[in-house]
């Protein structure tokens, strides 16, 4: 997902709006339904590190439950697997239901992701991640799936320049132009040549987006600017990997953000 191993949260883009700061500044925001995200599973380097009661994995293939447990195998890495957005139980596969059941849920979740960690996670299945994981965090990275644009020409997809509409040009204004070489044609078209094709529906991470406001009560995040994808699209939100050094070098920025936030918290 992102470079740094840290906890984040899963969310859903609700849409865009704007808020006014007390000094009248109008801030464009994306409102995100962020969590709560039930912890579905924890991954440990050594099996022994698993919390008591989670050291067994069931292998009872349709037999009487609990009889055929085996010791849980080591995962080889630390991570927390969390889910978001309930899927009605009647739509869940049995595997999904079974997995959800282990963390005390009645039905499966639509969006399940892992957050890799450097240390053994303190969470156990059944816990829940909320927007409180972003306490004291001013900027986040948001990963989502961009809007699909279908088969797209090079002008839209790669920002190629259009050709002349006048000066004797006729009919060819949005084509890519030459793609090969005049001499040494044995090399053909260069690998990775930008051409038309499917554009959108790809995973994109936007880094260092300011958190304008958090609403712990309703699990909402107000993020400055746009995030990838359409409304109701799923997002993975993590504290930004852009270093804090960069921000501390521009103290004015951090101060103004803090001031803005204080204003919003006070005013509204």
């Amino acid at each position: 997902m992102t470079g740094r191993n840290t906890l984040g949260i899963l969310g859903k883009k609700l849409g865009m709006s704007q808020v006014f700061l007390d000094d009248g500044t109008c801030v464009p925001v994306t409102i995100v339904q962020a969590g709560p995200c039930p912890v579905m599973q924890v991954k440990m380097v050594n099996a022994a590190e698993h919390p008591e009661g989670h050291r067994k994995a069931s292998i009872n293939k349709g037999k009487k439950s609990g009889k055929h447990d085996r010791a849980r195998a080591a995962d080889g890495y630390y991570a927390v697997q969390v889910g978001f957005d309930e899927r009605a139980a009647r739509l869940c596969s049995k595997a999904e239901l079974g997995h959800a059941k282990k963390s005390g849920l009645d039905s499966g979740l639509r969006f399940i992701r892992e957050f890799r960690l450097d240390k053994a996670p303190t969470q156990v299945p059944g816990d829940s991640l909320t927007v409180s994981v972003f306490e004291g965090i001013s900027h986040v990275d948001v990963t989502g799936t961009t809007k699909g644009r279908g088969w797209t020409g090079v002008i839209k997809r790669w920002n190629f320049a259009t050709q002349d509409h006048t000066h004797g040009n006729s009919k060819v204004t949005r084509r890519a132009g030459g793609i090969g070489r005049q001499y040494n044609t044995s090399h053909g078209v260069p690998k990775g040549k930008k051409m038309g094709g499917q554009y959108g529906v790809e995973q994109v991470t936007i880094q260092k987006l300011e958190v304008v406001k958090t609403d712990a009560e309703r699990n909402l995040l107000y993020i400055r600017g746009a995030v990838p994808g359409h409304a109701n699209g799923y997002l993975v939100i993590t504290p930004t990997v852009k270093n804090e050094r960069e921000m501390s070098e521009k103290p004015g920025m951090a101060v103004s953000n803090a001031a803005a936030k204080a204003m919003i918290a006070k005013g509204r």
Binding site: F20, G24, L220, R268
Partner: protein, 140 residues
């Protein structure tokens, strides 16, 4: 109600002055001079509303020293402290851009002296929506 609409309503002004396109208004705009804040008046004719919800804006046109000046205000901005209506005009369209081509006496609109003919800032108001939301909340 749509959740986005609901969240927007929370950030919108709960009551708005009653005015519409064609009205002559004074916009009380807060400006900062050093540490102090004071109210600046911008008087003119409302020629258009734009957008909806919290991003709704309105455009006020006036003539300053023979030159037309237009200013756009965000209706729900805390900077827009108040809008007072000086006179109402009878208009037949929502956007009065035709006033831009007019000079002198021709920029006058017919004054509406009688009772209100149609809901005024209904188009521009968050007021009715706010009421609806509180009603909905109480039902819940």
């Amino acid at each position: 109600m749509n959740i986005m609409r609901q969240l927007e309503l929370e950030h919108m002004k709960s009551s708005l002055p009653d005015f519409g396109a064609g009205d002559t208004v004074d916009v009380h705009y807060l400006i900062k001079e050093g540490e102090k804040e004071r109210v600046q008046l911008f008087s003119g004719t409302v020629i258009a509303f734009h957008g909806h919800g919290i991003s709704k804006t309105f455009k006020v046109r006036r003539i300053v020293a023979g030159e037309g000046v237009e200013r756009t205000f965000a209706l729900h901005s805390s900077r827009v402290a108040d809008v007072t209506v000086k006179g109402r005009g009878i208009i037949r369209r929502a956007k009065l851009y035709y006033l831009r081509e007019r000079e002198g006496k021709k920029t006058r609109l017919t004054r509406n002296l009688g009772p209100k003919k149609w809901p005024r800032s209904g188009a521009g108001s968050g007021l009715s929506d706010t009421k609806a939301s509180t009603d909905a909340a109480s039902v819940e």
